[in-house]
């Protein structure tokens, strides 16, 4: 798992991951790119990450992937990411395409629901928590 300040260098990351697994005998490599869209007058999105819990979450996914003969990789931005640049990339490598296609969907969906990352719209230089697009994590409300 890789974390970067600001937008991701998508081509460098995907190219490097391809090189890393070049001799691993995987038949399928399925990448996902999340790009910041220009909407609602935003200049950028901005992100806070709680890295210790994110690493635990990602380690569990690596084990799930390994059990299916696959590998998952991801990179995410911290701080401001301007529109038309990318804040999130992930990928699955697997021996055959079916496992990779299934895993990329499960991985990205669980990422949206349970990775400890907080998103803010940036408008006129101000950070506004994207509360209406955010999801309570599994187990929320324990202390209420």
């Amino acid at each position: 798992m890789e974390l970067y300040d600001g937008p991701l260098d998508v081509k460098e990351i995907f190219g490097r991951w391809l090189d890393e697994e070049a001799a691993s005998n995987y038949g399928a490599y399925i990448p996902f790119v999340g790009t910041i869209r220009a909407e609602d007058g935003i200049e950028a999105l901005s992100f806070d990450i709680y890295e210790p819990v994110l690493r635990v979450w990602f380690d569990v996914w690596q084990e799930k992937a390994k059990a299916r003969g696959a590998v998952v990789k991801m990179a995410h931005s911290i701080g401001d990411v301007p529109v038309h640049t990318s804040s999130y990339v992930s990928a699955v490598f697997s021996p055959k395409r079916r496992v990779a296609l299934e895993l990329i969907e499960e991985f990205v969906e669980d990422f949206k629901a349970n990775a400890p990352i907080w998103k803010y719209d940036v408008k006129n230089g101000e950070r506004i928590y994207a509360e209406d697009r955010s999801t309570p994590m599994d187990g929320s409300g324990l202390l209420a």
Binding site: G34, F47, D48, Y50, P52, V53, V56, H76, S87, Y88, V108, F111, K112, A113, N114, A115, P116, I117, W118, K119, Y120, Y129, A130, E131, R133, S134, T135, P136, M137, D138, G139, S140, G141, L142, L143, A144
Partner: protein
Amino acid sequence: MVKVEFLGPIGKAPVEMEAATLADVAEKLQEDSTVKEWLPKCAVALNDTMVSDLNTPLKDGDKISILPPVCGG
């Protein structure tokens, strides 16, 4: 003493408190009206592991993290 930290948009400085279980932490946090509003939608980690049982025992030096709704990507 245990330390409670509030992550992401909650925007509150960490607090220390005496607590034997997570139920004690819940009781004390509910006294703070700003934090109380966040609690129904927040998950909880103990020493960076997600927890789901109010009876979880706590020891001196434990770190409790309050995690509000997330949106990565």
